[in-house]
């Protein structure tokens, strides 16, 4: 039986809020985990017009080049892109309600640097989330992520 509209809406919006609530804190204070948010290989990752190869490269940039960064997410929306995303699972059956790709839109501000006095820069960020094909966890004792970043585009807009 095909999943109901309700269950699609529930799964996609909950996946989105959970992703937003874990990804931005990781950029701030758990940078060593950044790469675990990305699918391999990802489709396209772009920051301010700079293409980035993959999740490892994103993590490297945040660990080595970024000052302490404070993100404030102010608005979030999502839509289901594909209700039959071609997930190639390894060693497990995927719940049909979760075999979807999700477009996620985030609007907020970011402050680069420690001081609260630094300016708040408005950003707009677009993600495509896809199911995590693997049944493996994200490392020792870490909870397995249901959704991974397939595509990401970050832009400062204010």
């Amino acid at each position: 039986m095909a999943p109901t509209e309700d269950s699609y809406a529930k799964v996609s919006t909950e996946a989105t809020t959970e992703f937003v609530n874990s990804f931005y804190p990781a950029l701030q204070s758990n940078r060593a985990s950044i790469s675990t948010f990305y699918s391999t290989p990802p489709s396209t990752i772009v920051f301010n017009g700079n293409p980035v190869a993959d999740g490892n490269a994103v993590q490297e940039i945040f660990v080595n080049q970024m000052p302490p960064t404070h993100y404030e997410v102010q608005s979030v929306d999502c839509q289901i892109i594909n209700r039959q995303y071609p997930t190639v699972t390894v060693g497990r059956q995927i719940d049909p309600r979760k075999d979807i790709s999700i477009l996620v839109i985030v609007s907020g501000y970011v402050r680069f640097g420690d001081s609260r006095d630094l300016p708040q820069r408005g950003f707009s960020e677009t993600f495509v989330l896809v199911p995590n094909p693997s049944s493996e966890g994200g490392g020792k004792g870490k909870r397995r992520k249901d959704w991974l970043i397939q595509t990401q585009n970050f832009r400062l807009v204010v």
Binding site: T13, T44, N50, D77, I81, P86, I105, G122, V128
Partner: protein
């Protein structure tokens, strides 16, 4: 350079702000009151083009012909509003619950030991009052809080809940830090509004008359050629003295906001207002803090030069209300203020004003330093625009023209039964300076901000799927005007790249089809019952193959609306030999100049596997800047595994085994 007046350098001691007849903008000499009978116009000669002085020609007190009376009434209403609400500008602590409250004036604390505190003792006085108001025996009751207070001259005016009033009044005569307090109920009527202040000739001028006088004063002090508004030595201005502005603390605190309101009313639009003044002098006004002049930063947010010399600012606290304001300030003069001698002075001002170059007539920053600090950790680059066969470009051009002109056409042309639209409003987004955020009423009930809309039925009803539902919503949304993409490329930031895994309408592909992800950032104008509002937006589309115009369809369309935030954020950072910014799709550099039209896109006779391979090739090419041929070689040699191909590429590159022709023209190997 700014015009300034330095005639009277001699200043009184720093105690002047501690008595009731001191502080703020104050008369200095006993200039005889002169009865002014000026015309209401801003007298600026030929340069009055931008100024709406004509509106009051003939004297604002008289009825004006040709139907201008209404506009005049309206502006008078605004002044009255400004006058009666401007007292709030003086609040130093605000907030707390609404509801009825009583105002109480506390005096005598300026003679206490606490008066030497950084804040003049206000904080500790409030703490003292809160403690005394909380009954000592009430263990269960909540601690009484004073949430609203302001300083007027020697009085601290606090708002308390009616039930605390009696206890508060009993504090009269209590000793606070060595000084007896005088506590009495603060009667609003005893704090007359500016428009009811008896002038020194005994008459009570009307608001229109007050406006006319203020307009005349502004006209006299505005220098169009140098874009200077000289508000120095206000205390000795015979016209102001005649108006009785400095009679009481209350009128004095309301005068400046009203003056700013009058200034603003003389302009038809914000742009003209913003461009009219680059420099303001508030020199020689014996200001101990900016409380009474704080609205300056709202009226002139783009100010470049500010002369505050020869006042009484003792420390950063005295100017705290202007921290982070005046983001374009380049020149600041605080000579002749005790604060200038403070060891933290220079650092604080550099921190507060990111473009400050000259402080107290000394260069404190170079242009290069200002440019360098604008850099973000992730450099701002030209848009990542990877179109194929101008598919995305043509869509964007058609979309925004159509969305402004005929939304139904756009829907019929590009949307189908499964196209989805939703919008979300970021009501608290950072915004450009001096933009008054337009109300969000037309959108809020449709906004699907998941942070605010948490119930599933609401989340579902705010998703619009199919042409009919989207049409219904779009018809209800206000009409828009987006800037022309070709004529105003700087207003737009458009990015686009291919994405895989989209639903296949034909149902033939089990692995999904390829399409485009398009992200557009810009602004639009909206007519809101006669008033034109400017808003910023971020709009993301997903295009896939379909039966619409050009063989495409919109799969997803998400619109995020926010207050106008300008376009500075995506202007390229200055770089040595910077390439010209390319914000228009047509001018954007093609990432794969060699990519033939339709490459990476589904086409008749092309297998899904082929499309996917082409997309992988383009991705690798984008990442490595290798040509399509070499990218294809790298992928096919690594079983079409992107990760392996990238690794292989890195190895070969490190070993220097890749020939120059492996890279795209212009790429730095």
């Amino acid at each position: 350079m700014m015009k300034r007046g330095r005639a009277s350098r001699g200043r009184a001691t720093s105690t002047r702000s501690s008595t009731s007849d001191r502080g703020g903008i104050r008369k200095r000499s006993g200039a005889p009151p002169t009865k002014t009978d000026r015309d209401g116009d801003l007298a600026m000669g030929a340069g009055a083009g931008a100024i709406r002085g004509q509106r009051t020609r003939g004297g604002p007190g008289r009825p004006t012909p040709s139907g201008r009376t209404h506009a005049l009434d309206r502006s008078i209403n605004q002044i009255q509003k400004a006058l009666s609400t401007s007292g709030a500008q003086a609040n130093i602590r605000q907030g707390g619950r609404g509801g009825p409250s009583e105002q109480v004036a506390i005096r005598g604390w300026k003679q206490s030991k606490a008066a030497s505190n950084r804040d003049g003792g206000v904080e500790s006085l409030i703490a003292f009052l809160e403690k005394k108001l909380t009954p000592p025996d009430s263990k269960s009751g909540p601690r009484v809080k004073i949430n609203k207070s302001r300083v007027e001259g020697d009085a601290l005016i606090v708002s308390v809940r009616p039930e605390s009033l009696e206890r508060m009044l009993q504090l009269n005569g209590f000793s606070f830090a060595g000084a007896p307090l005088a506590v009495e109920k603060f009667d609003q009527a005893s704090a007359p509004l500016l428009n009811s202040v008896p002038a020194q000739n005994g008459t009570t001028p009307s608001t229109a008359d007050t406006k006319a006088k203020m307009t005349a004063i502004l006209g006299k002090r505005y220098y169009q050629d140098s874009k200077l508004l000289d508000l120095s030595k206000l205390g000795t201005d015979p016209d102001l003295v005649a108006m009785g502005i400095f009679g009481t603390t209350s009128t004095e605190s309301k005068f400046f906001p009203a003056l700013m309101k009058v200034w603003e009313l003389n302009f038809d639009n914000t742009t003209a207002r913003r461009e009219a003044v680059e420099s303001v002098s508030l020199a020689d006004n014996q200001l101990a803090n900016i409380t009474v002049v704080t609205t300056l930063s709202q009226t002139f947010p783009d100010l470049k030069n500010l002369d505050l010399s020869n006042n009484n600012f003792a420390d950063a606290q005295a100017l705290i209300g202007w921290r982070w304001k005046f983001r374009k300030l380049q020149f600041l003069d605080l000579t002749g203020n005790p604060f200038s001698a403070d060891p933290t002075f220079k650092d604080s001002m550099l921190k507060w004003y990111p473009e400050l170059k000259i402080l107290n007539n000394t260069q404190v920053r170079t242009d290069e330093e200002i440019a360098a600090q604008k850099k973000t950790p992730i450099p701002v680059r030209a848009p990542h625009f990877h179109d194929e066969g101008q598919i995305a470009e043509n869509f964007i051009r058609a979309f925004f023209t159509g969305y402004d002109g005929n939304r139904a056409d756009i829907l019929n042309g590009f949307y189908d039964t499964t196209s989805t639209f939703s919008l979300n409003v970021n009501t608290s987004a950072p915004r450009a300076l001096q933009t008054e955020p337009a109300p969000w009423d037309p959108y809020l009930k449709k906004s699907r901000n998941l942070l605010k809309i948490s119930h599933l039925p609401a989340r579902m009803s705010r998703t619009y799927t199919g042409v009919e539902k989207i049409r219904e919503l779009w018809t209800a949304l206000p009409p828009t005007r987006h800037p022309d993409i070709v004529a105003h490329p700087e207003e737009w930031l458009i990015e686009c790249f291919p994405i895989p895994g989209l639903p296949d309408m034909t149902g033939q592909s089990s692995t999904g089809v390829g399409g485009f992800l398009i992200m557009v950032h810009g602004k639009f104008e909206e007519d809101n019952s006669g008033k034109v509002e400017t808003r910023s937006f971020d709009r993301t589309f997903i295009l896939g193959p379909g039966n619409g115009v050009g063989g495409i369809r919109v799969i997803s369309d998400v619109l995020c609306l926010r207050a106008y935030g300008g376009n500075e954020a995506w202007q390229l950072e200055p770089q040595p030999a910077a390439a010209p910014p390319a914000a228009v799709p047509a001018a954007a550099p093609a990432a794969n100049p060699a990519a033939p039209v339709g490459y990476g896109l589904p086409a008749p006779g092309k297998t899904d596997a082929q499309v996917q391979q082409e997309q992988l090739v383009m991705q690798l090419s984008t990442k490595t800047m290798m040509t399509l041929q070499y990218s294809e070689l790298a992928l096919s040699g690594n079983s079409w595994n992107m990760e392996a191909a990238l690794k292989n590429f890195q190895e070969l590159k490190t070993q220097g085994q890749l020939p120059p022709e492996a890279f795209l023209p212009g790429a730095t190997a």
